[in-house]
Point group: C2
Chain length 399, copies 2
């Protein structure tokens, strides 16, 4: 690593051209671009007028179960969530999905696409035990020089409904999982109070955040949101709780959304939305205006649940924008902010952003503005992490 | 052009490897792949086991108003359709959007992406007169060796509501437009009967098909669908009428959709859906099951209406699939068929498909099955039109 260099002629978040001095992996100075700078003591890297965006944050994915690099899987499973879960568990064995290997596949793809921070949900169940967790932890360790990974212990097949899972979840937290995961407290576990009390109890015991997959529709989903808000308030866990998907917020009348949005904002509960097109999705603009922090993620990437997904958060911003009918410059910027600052706030990433004192963790892409980069999805990308160029134009440079 | 060659080792629509003999621009024979074929008289082109799909059909776009290759346009316009139309007309002048030049930009992008047939809607209004039509016609002529283009005379700013437009529409039809276009008969023209009678009257007079943009919601849109079915039946225009978008079919109860779907199928009215995520969209599976022919298109590509879009019909198939929550192999195949066979049926493309006697117009892409190609969107593509390789891996080879 160069202890100090000047990245000349880059445009942070679409600004006028700047020169950015990077020292010991941090942004030390930002000044107007001087084309004829003559400073023999500083190494100068030409930024070529590229757009400079903070490192992308994939706030929700499943590193352990993608099929990247494996033979094409011809799916014949339906769309029902329980059917997809059963199918996924069965195929993990049948296809020989190795969590460590597959995590590596997706991490490399994510990093070349500009992702520098990932929160991944890892299956904990009575069939795989902690083997997926161990695989993802091994991959995390292997790739620690190019990406930061946070692991959610995720009871994908149900928590209370499957005897033995709770013990495994506790073990997972003791062995190093960073976040307690939950899932559809009514539809899967059939006991919303029991499920959420258990999860929040674990969060308290281990001093860890909570992240709950909530696919439940309409007022059933709304009820779960209420229960989550109540527990977040009771345990003073502001900023430590995330609801992932929350499809229900795209199904309710405006008044109910306003009521829940206000509750989420006050309680400091984050929302993660993929902006998926196949069903309802939380309205990003309205919830942002209410003060809710939203983030986004890849979700499953080419797995047995769905063959789509490319672990590209710039594409994800385009998906979120289009799902929310964003066409204006600043609205598309809002969609991108879910994939950058929103995710950073959710995960509490220290020194995040493009300001003096921040970590020199950023992506260089062609584009006049952030919105152009989102709309174009350029393949040419330079990815810096803590002052080191870790990927360029599709290739990992240092791992 | 080679009068005859053997394209060896390709997999038509994902089949086992075949050898395809191409003679005078047509598919003359398809046989099982023989690796050690020894036939000194035939030129053999190695297909490398690639997937062979019929040429993509972009059944709905607007070649005249994209901003490809122009400076990034920072939009501040809202999502209201009337506001977008006004904004688009104003900016056509202000930005100096040249229909011929911009058509060329998009045609080249479309062709490298594998599109071999395009239906484009061209603005006819009292400000631009026929200049956009003339520009698109000039581009069509320039690119006639690599793509087939059908032109819809499209009263984007309203037909009856803007005096002088009807005369221009008639002139456009006389000067060579192929299809009579219409637009939101109630919401824009304020006279559903008057608008549709006028358009169908023109279709009768010029012996041309009709293609109507229908953004109208719920029962207002349903009423327009009924009026279109009635006129199609009365004028015996089965197969000659297309409704584009038809968002209303994604907003109605199942019974109303079934009633309208049956009417559309019986009348032989085609439906074009982009599968857009920002609002309602016709349910592809249900309508297909009712016997309705559906096709798809790029719609606007990076224009003043929306900065998104890449004129890639393989991406479009992925969008349609995800919008309709398709995950199964055959369902994703259905989404792709809107971008191939469905569009070909709609436009009445002769000799379309990968069968003996068909035009040798196809795309070679990596992928085990069509669904894998849709989910992966590989950039490596070889595009053949009537036996000639017109584009390869992102570059136009002959124009």
């Amino acid at each position: 690593m160069l202890a100090e260099f000047l990245l000349a002629n880059v445009r942070p978040n679409g600004s006028a051209p700047k020169d950015v001095l990077i020292r010991n992996g941090l942004i030390a100075e930002i000044s107007g671009h001087q084309p004829d700078r003559d400073d023999a003591e500083t190494v100068v890297v030409d930024g070529g007028g590229l757009l400079m965006l903070p490192g992308f944050v994939d706030a929700h994915t499943h590193l352990d179960k993608n099929l990247l690099g494996m033979p094409w899987y011809r799916s014949n499973a339906g769309s029902d969530i329980v059917e997809l879960i059963e199918n996924g568990r069965k195929l993990r064995r049948a296809l020989g999905i190795n969590a460590e290997r597959q995590s590596g596949e997706q991490i490399e793809l994510s990093v070349v696409n500009g992702t520098t921070n990932i929160r991944t949900h890892v299956d904990i169940d009575t069939e795989c035990g902690l083997s997926s967790l161990e695989g993802v932890m091994a991959a995390r360790s292997r790739y620690r020089r190019i990406v930061d990974i946070e692991i959610v212990a995720f009871p994908q097949s149900g928590l209370l409904i499957r005897q033995g899972t709770l013990e495994l979840m506790n073990q997972a937290m003791r062995e190093g999982a960073d976040v307690v995961g939950g899932l559809d407290p009514s539809e899967i576990d059939r006991d919303p109070k029991g499920h959420l009390d258990t999860i929040f109890g674990m969060a308290e015991r281990y001093g860890k955040p909570v992240d709950i997959h909530l696919h439940e529709p309409g007022s059933l989903g709304a009820f779960a949101v209420e229960l989550i808000i109540e527990r977040t308030n009771a345990l003073s866990m502001a900023g430590q709780v995330t609801i992932s998907h929350a499809f229900c917020l795209g199904m309710l009348d405006q008044r109910s959304v306003a009521r829940l949005g206000e509750g989420l904002a006050k309680a400091g509960v984050h929302l993660m939305t993929k902006g998926g097109a196949s069903g309802a999705a939380p309205p990003v603009m309205e919830l942002t205006d209410m003060g809710v922090n939203l983030c986004s993620g890849s979700g499953g990437v080419r797995d047995t649940f769905s063959p789509f997904g490319n672990a590209d958060m710039l594409d994800r911003a385009a998906i979120v924008a289009q799902r929310n009918d964003f066409r204006r410059e600043e609205d598309i910027g809002l969609a991108l902010s879910l994939c950058t600052y929103g995710g950073a706030r959710m995960m509490g990433i220290p020194s995040y952003g493009i300001d003096v004192g921040c970590s020199a963790t950023f992506v260089l892409v062609p584009g006049e503005t952030a919105a152009e980069a989102v709309a174009s999805g350029p393949r040419r990308r330079g990815v810096y992490r803590r002052g080191v160029l870790v990927a360029k134009d599709g290739a990992i440079l240092s791992a």
